[in-house]
Amino acid sequence: MKNVRQSLCAAILASAFAGSVYAQQSDGGTIERALETYRSMMKSDPWSNPGMLDVDRGETLWKTAAGPNNVSLEGCDLGLGPGKVDGAFAELPRYFADVDRVMDVEARLLWCMVKLQGFDRLKLLTRPHPSAGMPVRDLGAIATYVAYRSNGRSFAATFSHPKEKEMLALGEALFFRRSGPMDFACSTCHGDSGKRIRLQPLPFFSKPEEARRIVGEWPAYRVSTTHVMTMQHRIYDCFWQMRLPEVELGSEVSVALISYLVKQAEGGEINVPGMKR
């Protein structure tokens, strides 16, 4: 049975381009409409999202004893108390007193896997993200499961603690900071509405309406790489494109940027795993 998704996508794009392709200024939105049709088709049946397989895997990993200490992650405190998963993702990033710093879901899971289960921190930080064709690694699968357990809720991180406020300030400063051989800041690509790189539309993150629509779709299953991509991985990939070095999973820089995005997305609905090209 041929993959219907792929052939339908090709048909949509082909018909969109059959008309006048090039114009002096823009194509009058033809490409944008075709891309939007493709995306809504991909999302039309959330159940068929292969990212759900990683949600399942994440759930098993959360509940199964593992690591040198042979314990499960059910004692992990994601901010609402040990083992409480429902709604935890919706309130992240947040300050954790036990480590005296702000953490997003992946930074917190990293800490729990090291502290509770006894895993080697350096091993978890080495090649933490999958290459194309490889499934998301365990930490990412667990993060996907944890995020899934906040589906339907709105982003509600309060950013009330002084260190949380500091992360927001740092995140905003970094978002607009230009550097690297290409002189890029995040805002270079994500600084306006209706823009795209090649055929990939770009959300304007400083505009809350757009942030609210998009941030809640991450982690997302990426059709082009056939794996779930988490938010830490997405940011790591951005730094790669910007010709900057490898950002460490759970670092302040990553948590600061995620804080900025989540703040912009405040009130937006969480609906993971998303489905991306």
């Binding site: 114009a23 200024q25 900071r177 230009r178 800041a185 270079t188 460490e248």
Partner: protein, 209 residues
């Protein structure tokens, strides 16, 4: 029971309060703090790689003013960046458009997976621009460049302007989002000439009917 007007006033007051407190929440973050966070976030990066985070005066100003600097700063940037432009010694600014198209299509180079380098850097022009009429996979961060040379009647001054634009866009548009391909050493002079050829040759697919 509050009247409609009162409710609206209270709502607006609340929004104003929340809005202003949000603005206050994002306090200034100093360069030293950013520096410290950067060094900690890239523990395995070499000094070479870390130096990519060091913004020069121009970028520092652009970041500070969110790419909308005041007039005085604009003039300073334009002058500074203009001075960095180097021209081919023989004065020829037009290269080979076929190679130009390849350079425009390629996003290779300078990413941490591009070492050791196996080919020349690309300009990745299609990431942001429409160029030839045939290529449908183009970006819209920058304006469409279709008929670029044709519109400018393939004139010499515009050829020079195109060369300068690619070499260092800030010379004419301070705090432009476009990378300073020449000044930053992303593309060589020969490569820039090839892209100029793509823009300004009548036979180039950017211009031909």
């Amino acid at each position: 029971m509050m009247g409609k007007r009162r409710i609206r006033f209270v709502l607006l007051a609340c929004i104003a309060l929340v809005g202003s407190s949000w603005a206050q929440e994002i306090d200034a973050i100093d360069e030293a703090r950013i520096d410290a966070a950067t060094r900690a976030a890239f523990p395995r990066a070499s000094a070479d790689w870390l130096s990519r985070f060091k913004a020069d005066q121009t970028l520092e100003a652009c970041s500070r003013y969110r790419d909308a600097p005041p007039a005085e700063t604009t003039r300073t940037i334009a002058a500074q960046e203009s001075a960095t432009i180097q021209y081919p010694p023989d004065g020829k600014l037009i290269g080979d458009w076929k190679r130009g198209e390849q350079i425009a299509q390629s996003g290779y180079g300078l990413r941490f997976t591009d070492y050791p380098s196996t080919r020349e850097n690309g300009g990745n022009c299609y990431a942001c621009h429409q160029l030839t009429k045939e290529e449908v996979s183009y970006g819209t961060i920058g304006p469409s460049l279709v008929d670029y040379g044709k519109i400018r009647r393939f004139s010499e001054p515009d050829t020079k302007a195109a060369y300068e634009k690619i070499y260092n866009s800030h010379a004419t548009f301070p705090c432009s989002p476009m990378p300073r391909f020449g000044t930053n050493g992303v593309l060589t002079m020969e490569q820039i000439k090839d892209i100029v050829a793509l823009m300004m040759s009548p036979e180039s697919p950017v211009n031909r009917p």
